[in-house]
């Protein structure tokens, strides 16, 4: 692999740099891309101590 070949692969190398950077960032903030438990993020006005729910059974 020489400099000429590296130059020809510049777009692939740029993609590698960006994607590996994103992978590192995800690792730092604890972001699991797939298989993470889906959550619904909301804001409560009741100080989080009570949340009405529908119970079945």
């Amino acid at each position: 692999m020489n400099l000429k070949e590296l130059g020809s692969l510049k777009y692939f190398i740029a993609f590698i740099v960006v994607f590996v950077g994103f992978y590192i960032y995800s690792g730092i903030i604890g972001w699991k891309w797939l298989g993470s438990t889906s959550t619904e993020k909301t804001k409560t006005e009741k100080n989080g101590t009570y949340h009405p729910r529908y119970f079945h059974k």
């Binding site: 070949e5 692969l9 692939f12 690792g27 972001w31 101590t49 059974k57």
Partner: protein, 627 residues
């Protein structure tokens, strides 16, 4: 002759001063008259027709840090080649040497000829042991039919013309064998190959200016008597007539005249100059070659540079290969696949070609030699390695695929109309600009980096348990009720959070809805989990499904105080469950996903490459894809 002795040519009165201390022959550099002859043979005056060398008498250079001066020359015209042995005088050592020049190849030789004892029959590809460490391989057997001298020389001109010669080479050494049939005597000259640039020659000719050339050469056409003036001067052994277009040789051993039935127009005109790989070449000739076996024809251009020799450009369906001679190569015997310059070459085709049209000047009898030559082409796209051998020579050529643009850019001074590209060339790389090895190397480095980073994450993740508690169904309660955990603190900035949920169920279930609540900003993360575990025996075989433990992986949970609201649903039999909350847990799925995504381009590239290679080799009799 004595050093510094002055001698005057009786014919042209040119004054000569002897430079060497043991010179045995002095030929007038002006008129070719023999001024002094202390050799054992009679040497007649002979006109030495200049070839196209840039070296001349008086040129100075350096070899292994020793300076030298060119003082004379012996010119041997062979049937397939020529050899100029320039006599070298090294004043510092008071020593002679020979600088062999032939089509851009140079070898610095010792001054003396060595005798070979006994009768030796040389044949092509024979290994000849010359010294303890030198075995040369014979790659040329030829005959010298013309011999001429110039200037001052010493020693080995005890042969008159009409002798057999052979050339032996190794990667480092050059040996030139001279055999006189009259007395069955064989001698050889031994030297080392040297690059033109390494000789640091000065006072040489500008190869493009003929002002110093003494005499013009003319070659009349044997058919129409048109007088042709060859650009290659004495190097031109065969040519096509500028007037009638017939091919003929201008040497006494061959009187062949060929009239071609086909007519073709070269895409690069004869005489055009182009710069390829930093070297300027001039187009000398053009030939259309045909292989009857494959009904395949291609066009071949002979290009020449006086200091670098002859090279070839071949074109087929708009695909170009640039070919140059290989100084020395020994292919592993009986192998169709071998390594050369870190590339694995494989035999692609074997053929005999004929020339069906030619135009321009040739340095050999190209028509006859092509007909008698067996060719083997090995490819490692974009590279090509071709072996050509006949009864008298074994030659290797290395080639490289050139794009249409590269050819256009090489001949910028000439307006070219190049043939359009059709299909895929047999040496055309899948992607021109990089090799498969570079992709593999890049992927290897990247994968190693990603795996290394993942191990770093795994090693540095804290995996700290921040909360653990077992909950029971409230007694006497028929309804499901909400449970609230005590507060717990998540350290640091955004990290992952894993909640492990365990319920001792057997053929039973547990379901819960959970709300992770940030107590400082009241943000909530809602999720649900269900635990099911069933087992039994059916037809004598035990089975089970589900598990008593489930795990929730929550991404990007900021630091702060939290508690969890739990809305459990118990079955009739299960009354408890437990929760364990762990902060900052590494996950490996991102790594696998990264490796997969980064593999998409290489996988696509290699699949495409496989199909292209398979199609490329479908035209070959030696396809590795055939069973």
């Amino acid at each position: 002759m004595l050093k510094d002795q002055t001698k005057i040519c009786v014919e042209c009165n040119t004054v000569h001063t002897v430079i060497g201390n043991l010179s045995t022959l002095l030929v007038c550099r002006n008129c070719g008259n023999i001024i002094g002859n202390e050799t054992s043979i009679d040497i007649a005056k002979r006109t030495l027709i200049d070839g196209w060398s840039t070296i001349r008498i008086g040129s100075k250079g350096k070899y292994k840090e020793r300076t030298f001066e060119i003082i004379g020359r012996i010119h041997l015209l062979l049937r397939r080649d020529y050899k100029d042995f320039w006599c070298v005088w090294m004043e510092e050592d008071s020593a002679y040497a020979w600088l062999m020049e032939s089509f851009g190849r140079y070898a610095f030789c010792q001054d003396s000829l060595f005798n070979i004892e006994g009768s030796v029959d040389l044949y092509l590809a024979q290994k000849v042991n010359l010294t303890e460490r030198t075995d040369v391989v014979i790659d040329l057997i030829d005959r010298c039919d013309y011999l001429a001298y110039e200037g001052e020389s010493k020693g080995w001109q005890d042969f008159n013309e009409g002798f057999e010669v052979a050339q032996g080479t190794t990667e480092k050494f050059f040996a030139f064998f001279i055999c006189s049939k009259q007395n069955a005597e064989m001698k050889f000259l031994l030297g080392e190959w040297v690059d033109f640039e390494d000789l640091k020659l000065s006072q040489i000719r500008d190869w493009d200016k003929a002002v110093e050339i003494r005499n013009e050469i003319t070659i009349p056409c044997p058919s129409c008597k048109h007088v042709n003036i060859p650009r290659g001067r004495s190097l031109t052994l065969a040519l096509t007539c500028e007037s009638c277009g017939k091919y003929f040789t201008n040497r006494k051993w061959s009187k062949q005249v060929v009239k071609f039935n086909e007519v073709a127009v070269p895409a690069i005109p004869i005489g055009a100059k182009g710069k390829i790989d930093g070297i300027t070449y001039e187009v000398m000739s053009f030939a259309v070659k045909y292989v009857r076996k494959y009904k395949y024809r291609w066009r071949e251009y002979l290009l020449f540079n006086p200091n670098k020799g002859q090279v070839y450009l071949s074109e087929y369906d708009g695909h170009w290969n640039f070919m140059r001679p290989v100084p020395f190569f020994e292919k592993p015997k009986a192998k169709t696949e071998f390594d050369y310059k870190n590339n694995q070459f494989r035999l692609y085709q074997k053929f005999h070609a004929t020339i069906v049209f030619a135009k321009g000047e040739f340095f050999t009898d190209a028509f006859s030699i092509t007909e008698g030559t067996h060719c083997e082409e090995h490819i490692a796209p974009p590279y090509l390695l071709s072996a050509e051998h006949d009864s008298a020579s074994y030659r290797w050529f290395e080639g490289e695929y050139k794009s249409r643009d590269e050819i256009s850019n090489a001949f910028t001074s000439t307006s070219l109309v190049l043939p359009p590209k059709k299909g895929r060339g047999y040496t055309q790389p899948v992607i021109d600009s990089f090799s498969p090895q570079s992709i593999i190397q890049l992927c290897f480095i990247t994968f190693f980096l990603v795996i290394g980073i993942q191990f770093f994450f795994a090693e540095t993740s804290k995996e700290k348990e921040v909360f653990e508690q077992t909950f029971h169904r409230p007694e006497g309660s028929a309804d499901q009720k909400m449970l609230v955990t005590p507060s717990f603190y998540l350290e640091g900035s955004s990290k992952s959070l894993v909640m492990q949920l365990t319920a001792p169920v057997n053929n039973d279930w547990f379901y819960g809805e959970f709300t992770l609540i940030n107590e400082s900003d009241n943000s909530e993360y809602d999720f649900s989990k269900e635990i099911e575990y069933y087992s039994g025996v059916e037809e004598g075989e035990a089975w089970s499904e589900g598990a008593i433990r489930e795990e929730a992986f929550l991404s990007r949970i900021p630091g702060g105080s939290y508690h969890i609201n739990i809305y459990p649903q118990f079955s009739n039999y299960n009354n408890q469950f437990s929760i364990r909350v762990i902060r900052d847990v590494a996950n490996f799925s991102n790594m696998w996903l990264t490796l997969l995504i980064l593999s998409i381009f290489p996988i696509f590239y290699f699949i495409r490459r496989y199909h292209i290679e398979r199609k490329r080799w479908s035209d070959s009799d030696y396809s590795p894809y055939d069973n």
